[in-house]
């Protein structure tokens, strides 16, 4: 029968607007977390796609499964195998989900226009696998349950499984669902492969159990035992892969960097940004010399977008569209601790962060406008007053407040505007 004829009666036609509306809603709330790399965009789209479309596809699958059961397809002694019969009914739903993911990418394309790179196919493949698995579970449930029961059960149940684990303090659960991809990853991190494998294993087992229930369910106890055993076996394999992970499933990136040398200092960028190596070196090497001279810190041998120890190597970033001031500002503030110490109430060290950022950025050569915009006028005022003092006093001020940022027993000094 012509495709449009088959589509006309498919549940996918009714489900598609809901999928897209919910996808836009979820994506709209998440797009602010978009980082300057395609992995982040891929994770954002796949995460929103799985959460928005997984439950709707599962519910549509339950409807279609019930429809096929009511039509007693097996009773017509078909020549086509059950898997093909199911696939023919499932493709409009899965096609709708794939179109939704593609649409989400197109929406993000404008924001990612200047960003080099491509979407991560493995993350996308796992997202589609998760949606496929839940769609098949829907078909399997639909075969045995009335749509009035099966459709809401799958809609709510799938949504809870995908969304609720993020609220649990037991982190590993969220890494199994397919929606825990969350807001991974900054440019210097990548998605934890263990989490990706775990999600793929769980989704494959769900899909396998659903197929078994669809094709051979109700025949023997052995089949039902197999249906129950598949997810359990998957859990036994997948849980150890994610058990020790924290809330975010990310690990430092280990790609080879693209490096060049200028005035005896090695400058390294991520490969996709390699075209800006010359610009980066021209910008950060003089800035590093000024910083070293102003702060008294030893000049590093390496300035890199990759891992850095803060002593022999400093960290910086050249995000797409960043100008010289942005790059210098990033280099300067990378000398400050990334996270505050764990102190009790009353810790005042955080007050030093903005003035120190402003002072470091101005010392490195960043423009006053950029610094003022990023740190605020009060911090800029403190930094400018400090810069007016003799170099040795500036160094003492810097070192004391740097200690205040990283220890609980040291209060910051002279960080308030007059």
């Amino acid at each position: 029968m012509p495709l449009h004829r088959w589509l006309r009666s498919s549940a996918a036609v009714a489900a598609f607007p809901f999928m897209i509306a919910y996808l836009i809603f979820v994506l709209g709330g998440s797009v602010e977390f978009l980082e300057d790399n395609w992995l982040s965009a891929t994770v954002l789209v796949s995460s929103a796609g799985v959460l928005a479309m997984g439950p709707v596809c599962a519910a549509a699958g339950a409807w279609e499964g019930a429809r096929l059961a009511r039509g007693r397809i097996g009773g017509g002694v078909p020549v086509r195998p059950p898997v093909l019969v199911l696939a023919w009914s499932a493709w409009p739903i899965l096609g709708g989900a794939a179109a939704g993911l593609l649409g989400a990418f197109l929406v993000l394309a404008a924001a990612m226009a200047d960003v080099p790179g491509t979407p991560d196919p493995s993350v996308l493949a796992v997202a589609l696998l998760v949606i496929l698995a839940w769609t098949l579970v829907g078909f399997a449930v639909g075969r045995y349950a009335h749509p009035l029961l099966g459709v809401p059960l799958l809609l709510v149940g799938t949504w809870l499984w995908l969304a609720y684990p993020a609220a649990l303090e037991t982190f590993w659960v969220r890494h199994l669902t397919g929606n825990n991809l969350g807001f991974c990853c900054e440019t210097h991190t990548v998605f934890h492969p263990g989490a990706l494998y775990a999600q793929a294993i769980v989704a494959t087992a769900l899909a396998g159990a659903a197929m078994l229930a669809w094709a051979r369910g109700g025949r023997t106890r052995r089949v039902w035992a197999g249906i129950a055993a598949l997810p359990l076996a998957a859990a036994a394999v997948a849980i150890p892969l994610v058990r020790d992970m924290g809330p975010e499933a990310q690990v430092p990136r280990s790609d080879a960097l693209v490096c060049g040398e200028r005035e005896g200092i090695e400058v390294c960028l991520w490969p996709e940004r390699g075209k800006r190596l010359d610009f980066a070196a021209r910008t950060v090497v003089p800035a590093a010399r000024r910083l070293s001279a102003g702060s008294g810190l030893p000049l590093p041998g390496r300035i890199t977008e990759g891992p850095a120890d803060g002593a022999t190597s400093w960290r910086f970033a050249v995000p797409p569209g960043a100008d010289g001031d942005d790059v210098v500002f990033g280099l300067a503030t990378s000398l400050l601790p990334a996270e505050p110490p764990v102190c009790g109430p009353g810790w005042s060290g955080a007050e030093a962060y903005r003035p120190l950022s402003a002072w470091l950025a101005l010392t490195a050569g960043a423009g006053h406008d950029v610094v003022g915009r990023r740190t605020g006028p009060q911090a800029l005022d403190v930094a400018q007053r400090t810069l007016a003092r003799p170099p040795t006093e500036q160094m003492r001020w810097f070192r004391h407040n740097l200690v205040a940022l990283s220890r609980c027993d040291t209060a910051p000094r002279e960080v308030s505007a007059l």
Partner: protein, 245 residues
């Protein structure tokens, strides 16, 4: 080429037996399956359709045994099956339903769609091709069911009580259509209707509690007496299944 049941044993539950060592050959042409309720007519058709498989023995047609996985698809492609209750896929039109049935029987989509109209013409439903199946009467639905068995041009068509519950006019119309279909396919029909058996079928099988009481030409059954062919058949049938005349 007959469909043969070679030493078939079957029961729905452990310990129960519908057939024990059934030996039967259904010849080409039009065959009626007669028997009281529970005699095994539907079960026999389900075995022939490959919806069920015998626990012992085998069903064979053209050398194919549908219980064997490697033969099943080829066997099913040769057989059309219409159960008692026609349950169309919700949401489909009449033609879509028949086209889908053809696709399920292994036909390419386009071919199934093209032949669906011809099948509907055979059962005189072409004018309702674009109507939803849910809007059809019981008699029309039976004809949709018959069209589903015709769309893939099956060699053997199995119909389980196709006229049960139809009013006399619908039944007559259905018989006319079956007569046309029987001219080009091997037609096996289970029925309680003995009125026009002599005109509509070439051979008859009488089943009683899983045993074959009679299998042979309709004329052979009529030889058991009665003033009219219908009376003769009814008389013979009742004697065979031990019912009071």
């Amino acid at each position: 080429m007959p469909i043969s049941f070679e030493g078939c044993g079957f029961g729905y539950h452990r310990g129960s037996r519908v057939f024990t060592d059934l030996e039967l050959s259904l010849p080409e042409g039009r065959t009626a399956l007669l028997g009281p309720n529970g005699s095994g007519k539907s079960t026999l058709l389900c075995l022939a359709a490959s919806l069920l498989h015998p626990r012992t023995g085998r069903v064979r047609y053209r050398g194919l045994d549908p219980a064997r996985r490697r033969d099943r698809a080829r066997y099913r492609a040769l057989v059309g099956w219409m159960p008692q209750g026609i349950r169309p896929l919700p949401g489909l039109t009449v033609r879509e339903q028949v086209g889908y049935a053809g696709w399920l029987k292994g036909m390419p989509r386009r071919t199934a769609w093209r032949r669906s109209l011809a099948a509907l013409e055979t059962v005189e439903l072409a004018s309702l091709a674009d109507r939803r199946c849910s809007e059809l009467s019981g008699g029309q639905l039976r004809r949709v069911g018959l069209a589903q068995t015709l769309v893939h041009e099956a060699e053997v068509i199995l119909l389980d009580e196709p006229t049960a519950g139809l009013d006399p006019a619908q039944r007559e119309r259905f018989h006319e259509i079956m007569a046309q279909v029987g001219e080009r396919s091997h037609l096996i029909v289970s029925t309680h209707d003995v009125q026009d058996l002599a005109d509509a079928y070439g051979s008859v099988v009488v089943l009683d509690e899983g045993r074959v009481g009679y299998a042979g030409p309709v004329a052979g059954l009529m030889a058991h007496g009665g003033d009219t062919p219908a009376e003769s058949i009814e008389h013979a049938y009742r004697r065979l299944v031990a019912q009071e005349v």
